[in-house]
Amino acid sequence: MTLKAYVALHGRQFGTLFGLIVLCAVMWILTPHFLTVSNLLNVAEQTAIIAIIAAGMTFVIITAGIDLSVGSVLAFSGVVLASLLQKGVPLVPALAIGIGVGFFTGVLNGLLITIGRLPPFIATLGMMSVARGAALLYTGGRPISGFSDSFRYLATGKPLGIPMPVLAMLAIFFMAYFLLTKTKLGRYTYAIGGNEEATILSGVNVRLYKTLIYGICGGLAGLAATILTARLNSAQPIAGMNYELDAIAATVIGGTSLMGGEGHVFGTLIGALIIGVLRNGLTLLNISSFAQQIIIGLVIIVAVLLDMALKKSRR
């Protein structure tokens, strides 16, 4: 493929990337603290948790679904993991169970949607409430704190100077990219979102794949829980509130359509970074959290408005 054809095909992602670059340039002009290696790593690290959740959300949204439960699932996975660690369960099995809890909650979402025929919004809205309640009940509302250094290394480690959460984020995005573009699972993800009925009639086991996709989304929320717990050295039952909104925003800013059938996972990464850079830059500029909310809301709106305008002009 020629470069030009490539740009034409992925124009949307370049648009988002361009937006990110402009944003960075503006921050660089406004504050000297922004463009330093340590601050950029800081931004990447802060973005990692939302970005990892958003990677899973991208799969779900491409199928024309949505997952509102990720924040609660994160909390639930986190407290389960933390309680296991505190009971002395070794690291690897504890991690496997913690992430597994996320995966299975996701699968449960998937089953409600495929077998129970619930709209994803409703199934995951219900699960959001149930998983949050479960996390609170499990812990009696109290955080679980204090872990071994080997566990904390998952968030505090810096092999080659790069924070672990950033490495995890990059690994997840390359895997997600591979899954979405090269494999059957990816193809069916797009097909289900584009026309579910036609996909069923083509003989694809849509129930299986959809369930799996919600499982992946839940599993990534579990992974995010691991990093968050290690980072805060504490698992809170009230962690992750409203993360679903940030993850959805990152996905949509990154060019994935809520109508399903289209989207790119690297766009999502850029979307998450845009939100991260904004939050970071606005704090560096000492803009109040009130004004930050307004600005972030406007950025979501303007990003997608521009996207729509571009799409229209390209047709």
């Binding site: 802060q46 704090t283 109040s288």
Partner: protein, 297 residues
């Protein structure tokens, strides 16, 4: 080593839990006054939601990046904030903790250091409220509690103090204890429902004035104003007004403006290389109709 602002003044950052709560607004005001009189530059930041400790940690990280001279923090989570404190330690930025205590064992375990703690004793406040409740009800009666969001150090201490104080009086029966999530409208609804289940409730302890004020409206709607002993916490101006009108019996005053002021003063003195007191207990006081006017915040 610490970067000063362009005009040469040091920069002190105050990171509160949230700015949409009058308690922290007052703290901000006290801090601003101190900053002005000491001629230091003050930044005030907060997460959108009071319990969002991850956001608070990000804000602190960002402030460390922007090389502030000192940090004053009211932790959204008393253990969860420790990694951020450690980061500040590593960057050589002194940390003063306000209002909510950091868990000392966890801090020690993480090799973290704080320069000072400035706050009031929430446990003591809860106890004061409990004792007043026992006294007002004559040691006998049905009492309800509106809790804050569970797992919150401040709320938990207040609750614990209150329960300790009433535990000594077997005549006091806690008939219902539910969270209203620090919110005014939930305070209304939850207490309305409690009244329904227990129409003979004689006392209410709310872990914050916001919830207490919601409950006051529910009591008014039930036509029971003045018949129920309502004790809140924080002593907002509105709550004081309610005490004056007899809608509330008392509220436990903390003095957030003092905390803000002392916090900034301590940080400024640290930056000048002076030694400071490691623990300052800001007074805590029951505000009733009798002492209402003598104790402005």
């Amino acid at each position: 080593r610490n970067q000063a602002t362009s005009d040469g003044r040091p920069t002190i950052a105050l990171v509160v839990k949230t700015l949409n709560n009058p308690f922290f607004n007052d703290m901000q005001k006290g801090a601003e006054e101190a900053a002005k009189s000491l001629n230091v530059h003050l930044l005030v930041q907060a997460a959108e939601r009071e319990v969002d400790v991850e956001k608070q940690m990000q804000i602190i990280e960002n402030l460390i990046e922007s090389k502030v001279s000192a940090l004053c923090i009211t932790p959204s989570g008393s253990k969860e904030i420790i990694p951020a404190i450690v980061k500040a330690n590593k960057a050589g930025i002194p940390v003063v903790i306000l209002d909510t205590r950091v868990n000392p064992e966890a801090l020690a375990a993480a090799n973290g250091k704080i320069a000072a703690f400035i706050g009031s004793d929430n446990l003591e406040g809860g106890r004061l409220a409990g004792e007043l409740m026992v006294r007002t009800l004559g040691g006998k009666g049905k009492v309800a509690i509106l809790e804050g969001i569970p797992g919150h150090e401040t709320g938990d201490s207040r609750l614990k103090g209150f329960r300790q104080a009433v535990a000594g009086s077997p005549g006091i029966q806690i008939v219902s204890s539910q969270t209203a999530n620090w919110e005014r409208d939930q305070g209304y609804t939850v207490f309305q429902n409690m009244l329904q289940a227990h129409p003979d409730i004689q006392g209410l302890f709310a872990c914050s004035d916001l919830m207490a004020l919601g409950a006051v409206e529910a009591i008014r709607a039930a036509g029971k104003t003045g018949k129920i002993t309502v004790i809140g916490f924080d002593a907002f101006s509105e709550a004081r007004e309610a005490v004056r009108k007899g809608e509330m019996t008392a509220t436990v005053a903390q003095f957030p403006a003092d905390m803000g002021k002392i916090g900034v003063e301590s940080a400024a003195r640290l930056l000048k290389g002076e030694r400071i007191q490691e623990e300052v207990t800001v007074k805590i006081q029951l505000i009733t109709r009798d002492n209402l006017n003598s104790n402005k915040p």
